[in-house]
C-alpha cells in the first residue's frame, strides 16, 4: 500500500471542497443573478443627459470625417418630422446612456432547465431585448436588422459578454453622430451588488476609427415597476409636404456653440481618436477657445471621405453565385439571396410565384433554392379526424415537384430578369392550368419593361410575356391564399419599376427602388429621377405598417441587401432627400456636374451605400441630371 502524505490529503480535500462548492450544471452558465429590476444611476455625463447634447459637441468620440459631416449637417428637428423616428428605440450602442430603468428576466428551457436567454425590458423600449446564451448561431447576412440587433452572450468568469450585430442605424450621441447598420456592439456586464456595471463598446467600420468604449451603472431596485410606454407618433404638420430638416454642409450655425459656451478648444470639441489620448491634453491646452460663435466651414479629408474612390479602384471581379441561400420572410413568402438581385417567392398549395429571377448564371442554384423552399415547407396541420391514409406521415410528407406558376419582373435590369429563360425552360415552370398555355400569365412586368427589352433586342425567352400599364394591377385571383398586387413606381429607377405586395403575408417586394446597402441605380435615360425615386419610397411607406416602435410589421424585400422594414426604408428615403437638397443647392449656385462630383455631396453616406464600384458616381450623376433636366 502506498504511503499517503499530508499534502496529498490536503490537495484531495481542497479538490473535494471546491467540487462541492461548484454549482450544479444548470447554473454553470449563469454565475451571476442578473435578474430583477435596475435603476440607472445618473452620475455620469449629466450635461449630455440634460438638457442634452448640443450640436457640434463630439468630445470623446473617435469618429471619422464621414460621421462628422453627418453630424454637422444634422438637425435634431428631424425626430419630430419623421413619424418613424419619434418613437425610435435606442440601439445597444447608446441604450446604457439612456437613463431607462430596466428589468432582466431569465428564459429557461422547461425540460433541461438550462438558461436559454436573458430578456431585458427597458422603460422606453417595451419590446423585450433578447440575449441568447445557448450558443445559437447568428442569422444570415440577409436577415432583418432591428434596433436591439441580434445578441448572444457568453460568461467569461463573472462577467457576461454580449455581442450584438444586425443593428439598425442608430446614434452614439443625440446630436447626430451616427452608428452604422454594420456596427457591432460588445457589452460587458458585471455585478457588484447592488450595482450592475455595464460597459459597452461600439465597433463601427463605417463611422468610427477606433472602438468607442463607455460605461454606465445600474442599481438594484426591487420595488421598481416599469410603466407602460404608449409612444404614439403624431404628425404635427399633417398638411405639410414631408421634409427632412438638415443643414447644408458649411451652413450649420451652431457647430461652435459648445466650444464657445464651455470655453473649450474647438479642435477637442470636434472629436476624433487622437483627442482621446493623454498625449493630446498637452496640445489641447495650448489651443484657445473660439472668441465668438460663428458658422463653421469644415473640410473633410480623412480616409472615410474616399470610400467611393476606393470602391471604383477595385479590380472588377466576375460575380460569384456560390452562396445562394433561401430565408423565410413572412407568411408564405421567402427570399432567395445571392443570385444577383434578390428573388422573392410565395410558395404554397397553389405553387410558386416568383418575383424576379436573378442573374442568368445563377439559375441552377435558384431553382435548387426554390425546391428547397417548397420541400421544407411545414406540412399542413392534420385535420382533427382519423387519417384516411394508410401512412399519414408519408402522405403528408411526400412533396410534388415545385410548380412555378409565373414570374413577375420588377425591372428590366439583367440581374432581375437574367434567369427568366432558365426558369421558363425548367420542368418546374408549370403554368396555371389553362388548356391554352398562351392564355396564362407567364412573365409579367410593367409594359415599359417589355418595350425596353424589345428595343434592346433581348433574347426572346428573357422578355416578359405579359404586361400591365395601370398604376395598380391586382392578379385575377388569390394565389397561395392571398391577394397579389403590383404597383407601378413611375420615374423612380426607371419608368417601368414595379413593387409587388403580398397582402396576407404582408410582404412588399420593392425591386431596385429600395436597396438596403446601396444607392438606387437611377437610370435617367430610362426615365428614372431622384424625385420619382423619393415618391416611390413614400408609396412603399404608405403601404407599410410597423409592428411596434418603428420596426417589424410589413416586411420589405429590397432589390439588393437584407430583409427590411419601414424604418429602414424611411432612413433610405431621408438620405435621398438630404442628398437631393444638397445637389439642388449646388445646381442653384451654377455648379457643373464635375464640380458637383468633386464637392462629394454623398460623402457622409458613402460608407453605407457607396461601397460598390461605380455606384456613387452613377448615383450623383443621376441626381444631378434628373434635377437639372427637371425629370
Amino acid at each position: 500500500m502506498k504511503t499517503v502524505n499530508r499534502s496529498s490529503v490536503a490537495g484531495a480535500l481542497i479538490l473535494l471542497v471546491s467540487c462541492a462548492a461548484r454549482p450544479a450544471l444548470a447554473q454553470e452558465n449563469s454565475p451571476l443573478d442578473l435578474t430583477g429590476t435596475w435603476r440607472w444611476i445618473n452620475h455620469e455625463d449629466e450635461r449630455d443627459r440634460n438638457p442634452g447634447a448640443y450640436p457640434g459637441d463630439y468630445r470623446g468620440i473617435p469618429l471619422n470625417d464621414a460621421a462628422r459631416m453627418r453630424a454637422d449637417t444634422y438637425d435634431e428637428e428631424v425626430n419630430a418630422t419623421s413619424l418613424l423616428l419619434q418613437c425610435r428605440p435606442r440601439t445597444p450602442g447608446y441604450q446604457a446612456k439612456g437613463l431607462d430603468p430596466m428589468r432582466i428576466d431569465k428564459v429557461v428551457d422547461p425540460v433541461s432547465r438550462q438558461l436559454v436567454a436573458y430578456r431585458i425590458s427597458y422603460e422606453k423600449t417595451p419590446g423585450d431585448r433578447v440575449v441568447w446564451v445557448d450558443g445559437r448561431q447568428r442569422p444570415s447576412a440577409y436577415a432583418l436588422h432591428s434596433w436591439d440587433g441580434f445578441s448572444t452572450g457568453t460568461f467569461r468568469g463573472d462577467t457576461l459578454e454580449i455581442t450584438t450585430t444586425h443593428l439598425k442605424e442608430g446614434f452614439v450621441r443625440r446630436n447626430g453622430v451616427p452608428t452604422s447598420f454594420r456596427a457591432t456592439v460588445i457589452e460587458h456586464v458585471s455585478l457588484q451588488e447592488p450595482y450592475l456595471e455595464w460597459t459597452f463598446t461600439v465597433i463601427d467600420p463605417d463611422y468610427l476609427t477606433e472602438p468607442l468604449v463607455r460605461s454606465a451603472t445600474y442599481m438594484r431596485a426591487p420595488t421598481l415597476q416599469l410603466p407602460a410606454y404608449p409612444c404614439q407618433p403624431d404628425d404635427y404638420q399633417p398638411d405639410a409636404t414631408y421634409r427632412v430638416p438638415h443643414y447644408l454642409p458649411g451652413e450649420n450655425p451652431y457647430l461652435t456653440e459648445s466650444a464657445f459656451k464651455y470655453k473649450a478648444p474647438l479642435e477637442g470639441m470636434r472629436g476624433g481618436a487622437e483627442t482621446l489620448y493623454p498625449e493630446w491634453r498637452a496640445h489641447g491646452s495650448t489651443l484657445a477657445p473660439p472668441a465668438a460663435q460663428s458658422t463653421l466651414k469644415p473640410a473633410y479629408s480623412d480616409a472615410s471621405t474616399r470610400i467611393a474612390e476606393r470602391a471604383d479602384a477595385q479590380r472588377p471581379r466576375p460575380p460569384a453565385y456560390d452562396r445562394v441561400e433561401a430565408l423565410h420572410v413572412a407568411g408564405n413568402v421567402y427570399l432567395i439571396a445571392g443570385a444577383g438581385a434578390n428573388i422573392a417567392v410565395s410558395a404554397g398549395g397553389d405553387g410558386v410565384i416568383m418575383i424576379d429571377s436573378g442573374a442568368a448564371a445563377a439559375s441552377d442554384r435558384v431553382l435548387a433554392a426554390v425546391r428547397q423552399v417548397v420541400q421544407t415547407l411545414r406540412p399542413p396541420e392534420p385535420a382533427e379526424a382519423t387519417s384516411p391514409f394508410g401512412s399519414s406521415w408519408q402522405a403528408s410528407h411526400a412533396f410534388a415537384d415545385p410548380m412555378i406558376r409565373m414570374i413577375i419582373n420588377t425591372s428590366s435590369n439583367p440581374d432581375h430578369v437574367g434567369g427568366n429563360a432558365s426558369v421558363r425552360m425548367s420542368p418546374m415552370f408549370r403554368l396555371l392550368g389553362f388548356r391554352d398555355l398562351s392564355l396564362s400569365l407567364q412573365v409579367l412586368a410593367h409594359e415599359r419593361v417589355q418595350q425596353r427589352m424589345l428595343e434592346a433586342k433581348a433574347a426572346e425567352m428573357l422578355v416578359p410575356t405579359d404586361t400591365y400599364a395601370s398604376s395598380k394591377y391586382t392578379l385575377y385571383r388569390y394565389l397561395n391564399n392571398q391577394a397579389i398586387q403590383i404597383f407601378h413606381m413611375p420615374n423612380a429607377v426607371s419608368d417601368g419599376d414595379s413593387a409587388v405586395w403580398f397582402r396576407r403575408s404582408d410582404v412588399i417586394v420593392a425591386g431596385d427602388v429600395y436597396n438596403s446597402d446601396m444607392y438606387p441605380p437611377i437610370d435617367v435615360d430610362a426615365g428614372g429621377s431622384i424625385n420619382g425615386e423619393i415618391d416611390a419610397l413614400k408609396s412603399l411607406l404608405d403601404m407599410s405598417a410597423t409592428d411596434f416602435m418603428s420596426q417589424g410589421g410589413t416586411m420589405i424585400v429590397p432589390g439588393h441587401g437584407w430583409i427590411s422594414d419601414a424604418a429602414d426604408v424611411g432612413y433610405y428615403r431621408d438620405m435621398l432627400i438630404v442628398i437631393r437638397d444638397r445637389v439642388q443647392a449646388m445646381i442653384d449656385k451654377g455648379m457643373t456636374l464635375p464640380q458637383v462630383k468633386a464637392a462629394k455631396p454623398t460623402l457622409d453616406f458613402d460608407p453605407l451605400y457607396g461601397r460598390e464600384p461605380g455606384v456613387t458616381a452613377r448615383f450623383v450623376e443621376a441626381v444631378y441630371r434628373s434635377l437639372k433636366e427637371k425629370k
Partner: protein, 132 residues
C-alpha cells in the same frame, strides 16, 4: 432635521421622482438659452410618452394663423401635476412661454410655462414643473 436640510431633502425627493429623460436632445432641438412668448387658442392636446404635445393656434402680426407645437412633459408627469384631459382643453385661450426651435422657420417649442388667461390656471411655475 433643520429647515435647510429638510428643504433640500424634499427638493431632492421631488426631483428624483420625475422622469429626467428626453427621448431626443432638448439642447439639440431647441435653443434653451432663448424664450418666446405667444398668445393663442388651444386646438389639440396630445398626452403621451415620452412627451406630450400641446397645439396652439397663434395669429401673427399679419393676421396669419400659425399652428404651434409645444413639447411638454410626459403624460405621467403631467398627470401628477394636474395637466390631464381636464387640465387644459381645446378652445382654451392660453399664453405660452417656450424655448424656440433651433430649426429655421419651425413652429415648435419646448414648453416653459402655460397659463389659461380666463382663470389663471398655469403649469410651469412650481418646483418640478419643467420639461426634461
Amino acid at each position: 432635521m433643520n429647515t435647510p436640510t429638510l428643504v433640500l431633502t424634499v427638493a431632492a425627493a421631488v426631483l428624483s421622482s420625475l422622469p429626467l429623460q428626453a427621448h431626443h436632445s432638448f439642447g439639440g432641438t431647441y435653443n434653451v438659452d432663448k424664450q418666446i412668448t405667444m398668445k393663442g387658442k388651444m386646438v389639440q392636446v396630445t398626452l403621451r410618452s415620452p412627451h406630450s404635445f400641446l397645439y396652439v393656434e397663434v395669429e401673427d402680426a399679419k393676421g396669419t394663423v400659425q399652428r404651434w407645437v409645444l413639447e411638454g412633459a410626459g403624460a405621467t408627469q403631467f398627470s401628477q401635476q394636474f395637466v390631464d384631459k381636464d387640465g387644459f382643453k381645446v378652445g382654451d385661450a392660453v399664453e405660452v412661454v417656450a424655448n424656440p426651435s433651433r430649426s429655421p422657420n419651425s413652429t415648435r417649442g419646448r414648453l416653459i410655462r402655460i397659463t389659461r388667461t380666463t382663470d389663471g390656471k398655469s403649469w410651469g411655475t412650481k418646483v418640478g414643473e419643467t420639461v426634461d
